[in-house]
């Protein structure tokens, strides 16, 4: 299901309490996708050279060193950026390959992305989850897109997001509900009493106030709203570029929505659509 995650798991399994080097490879791919009759340009970090709409999540243990090889299949230069961890010397030229070594000495969710307009604003951004390998875990990568801006960004005609814009397409892992419920990395499927980790990054440019039906979650880490750490919430804002780690311990079975409560975002392609997923909790 997640090839690179399985590899990582194997690498660390025999060195459970020791820091180790985790090797992984991601490809930067680009394509256009029809999202609810909107043609959107996407740039993604994928496990293979074949474009996939969802960025591949990365996972390491605490204090592990990630040796990440980036193969840029795009015709433009990209970066592999993790704020405060790798911000310089991180470019990958077109059709080139670069390897970066980075260490993580704190648990939580980190966002990696390509720090160029035609990268990050076209969705080249994903999750790194550190220190939660032993938990049932899922990845949510929030993003929104505006058709005309997507086109301009892809063609080099725009390099910034205007102060105010009205995107049409709202996604989790670049998927629109109900496709989010067949997403192997995002559709939360677990049992009552499980300790479930949800790794969230907001790769978009909008504040996403996210609401859980049925349950409260505990915010374990937050890159921007650090004052939220330890809070139990059912609704909370996730800022652009923010990375959060959430703990969900369901106390009852059920099928419950979790969605952006800026309700303009839940009707992509008709209601219900857009930035919605479900929590599927079995007894």
């Amino acid at each position: 299901m997640y090839k690179h995650l399985i590899i990582i798991g194997f690498l660390v399994s025999s060195l459970s309490s020791f820091a180790t080097i985790v090797k992984d490879t991601l490809y930067i791919n680009r394509d256009t996708v029809n999202q609810a009759a909107n043609l959107i340009h996407y740039c993604s970090f994928n496990n293979t050279s074949t474009f996939e709409i969802s960025n591949a999540p990365l996972e390491v243990n605490l204090n592990d060193t990630l040796e990440i090889t980036i193969i840029n299949t795009d015709s433009l230069t990209h970066t592999f950026t993790v704020n405060s961890i790798i911000e310089t010397g991180n470019t990958i030229a077109m059709d080139d390959t670069s390897t970066f070594t980075i260490s993580f000495n704190s648990k939580g969710t980190f966002r990696y992305y390509s720090d160029v307009a035609y990268g990050k604003y076209l969705g080249a951004s994903g999750n790194i989850l550190v220190g939660y390998s032993n938990y049932i875990h899922f990845f949510w990568n929030l993003f929104e897109a505006k058709v005309s801006l997507s086109d301009s960004l892809a063609n080099g005609l725009a390099t910034i997001i205007p102060n105010y814009y009205k995107p049409e397409v709202f996604t989790i892992n670049n998927l629109i509900y109900p496709n989010t419920t067949s997403d192997p990395i995002g559709f939360v499927t677990a049992n009552v009493g499980d300790s479930i980790i949800i790794s969230v990054v907001n790769s978009g440019q909008m504040i996403s106030p996210f609401h859980f039906h049925g349950y409260h979650v505990t915010i374990l880490e937050a890159s921007i709203h650090q004052n939220f750490v330890g809070w139990e919430k059912d609704t909370f804002p996730i800022f652009p570029s923010e990375a959060m780690t959430l703990l969900l311990v369901p106390d009852k079975p059920g099928l419950y929505p979790a969605h952006n409560h800026n309700l303009t975002t839940v009707a992509t392609g008709g209601y219900p659509g857009g930035m919605i997923t479900l929590l599927n909790i079995s007894p």
Partner: protein
């Protein structure tokens, strides 16, 4: 006419262990915006058996339950579209979640009951979850509070005490949708252009003394704040009010936080305590900002706050509230009282209209011969109360 929505936020209190409230959903509500424009909305109201024309309110009635209560919220749908009640933040079972795809919808002329146990103290919301992006924007939302019980003067067992309580629900509307209910959208183009607290905006809010925070030195006021709009709202309290947030989303915070400026995003709620130590005659500023790549303030409202230097316990602290509903009323106005009392009703011009005796609990007053307008209810031991007659 712009005062027609005054007192619509009168809370409905329940004290029994088994509480039941029946709401009606309709799509024929109307309210007056600050500039006097009669504006359609969809909403919920308390259902009164035998009343032909049930009324809905903006916002929906405030529901207050006690911790531990077993609650039934019934819904009678008298509108042509399906509706539900989503009990936002109450972590109810799937069947009671109010989401048509995973629970059920309530069809035209049908009814249903939502059940939950009030297991957490704090501030919650309820709203329709059918085409939520439209129905919530049209006004189908309200606040729900679970208070500590039996120590209702404590925020929670072992927590701080308070002796005043206020409720503020922020919302916004894109009035174009309200005026074009048959063809709203596209939904991603929602552009809030009318910003409210308790369904009131601008002078409607600031001039309404029932919305003003009144305190004496030494008082502690519990302020319930929720946001059911599409924009973020920032409540800016006077620094002298010493605002601290103790709960959010119905959970006790690990430690209280300063809430001089408290930004609340769509769907969030906070329980805030005010413990002023000095005179305040001013206002709480409520700024709205959108969630896009912009921090421009797009709307501002003001809630009055008056803190005297009188010590807590002076005469006006002993005054209790009369709860009037429905409001506006037509032929009957119900008055919920905490004790037996004589009441006098005056027109807003000061003309005596009627006197009658009310008992502790619910009382129905015949106002069928009243003409349209605003009336004052005066009774010893109670704060003055207002109601509207709307024929």
């Amino acid at each position: 006419m712009k005062h027609l929505i005054i007192l619509l936020f009168t809370p409905l209190f329940f004290t029994a262990q088994d509480d039941e409230i029946t709401l009606v959903s309709k799509m024929d509500g109307s309210f007056f915006t600050e500039n006097g424009t009669n504006t359609p909305f969809w909403g919920f109201g308390e259902y009164f058996p035998g009343v032909v024309n049930q009324r809905v309110y903006l916002p929906a009635p405030l529901l207050v339950f006690n911790y531990g209560d077993s609650v039934h919220v019934n819904l009678i749908n008298q509108s042509p579209e399906t509706h539900t009640i989503h009990l936002h933040g109450l972590d109810v079972s799937q069947i009671n979640d109010g989401v048509p795809a995973t629970s059920f919808g309530v069809l035209f002329n049908d009814s249903a009951s939502y059940k939950f146990r009030a297991n957490n103290i704090g501030t919650f919301l309820y709203h329709c979850h059918v085409n939520t992006n439209l129905h919530a924007a049209m006004g189908m939302s309200g606040m729900l509070v679970v208070r500590n019980y039996p120590d209702t003067n404590l925020l929670y067992n072992g927590g701080p005490s308070f002796n005043k309580e206020y409720y503020y629900l922020s919302s916004d509307m894109y009035l174009y949708w309200n005026y074009n209910t048959t063809s709203p959208g596209p939904f991603h183009m929602y552009e809030a252009d009318y910003f409210m607290v308790n369904g009131k905006s601008g002078t409607q809010l600031f001039d309404d003394t029932t919305e003003t925070i009144y305190m004496n030195a030494g008082d502690t006021a519990l302020i319930h704040i929720g946001n059911v709009g599409y924009n973020a709202v920032s409540y800016i309290f006077p620094v002298a009010a010493n605002a601290t947030a103790h709960l959010s989303d119905g959970r006790i915070l690990p430690s209280p936080i300063s809430a001089d400026t408290l930004t609340i995003y769509p769907g969030e709620r906070y329980s805030v305590l005010l413990t002023p130590t000095q005179f305040i005659e001013g206002y709480v500023t409520v700024n709205s900002t959108n969630l896009y790549n912009d921090t421009t303030i797009v709307g501002t409202n003001y809630i009055g706050i008056n803190v005297t230097m009188y010590p807590s316990g002076v005469e006006d602290n002993k005054l209790e509230e009369l709860h009037l509903y429905p409001n506006p009323a037509n032929n009957i106005v119900n008055i919920r009282s905490t004790k037996d009392s004589d009441i006098n009703i005056y027109s807003i011009e000061g003309k005596f209209v009627k006197t009658t005796r009310i008992n502790k609990g619910a009382n129905s007053i015949d106002i069928s011969d009243f003409t349209e307008g605003m009336y004052l209810v005066i009774s010893d031991g109670f704060l003055p109360a207002k109601f509207i007659v709307f024929k």
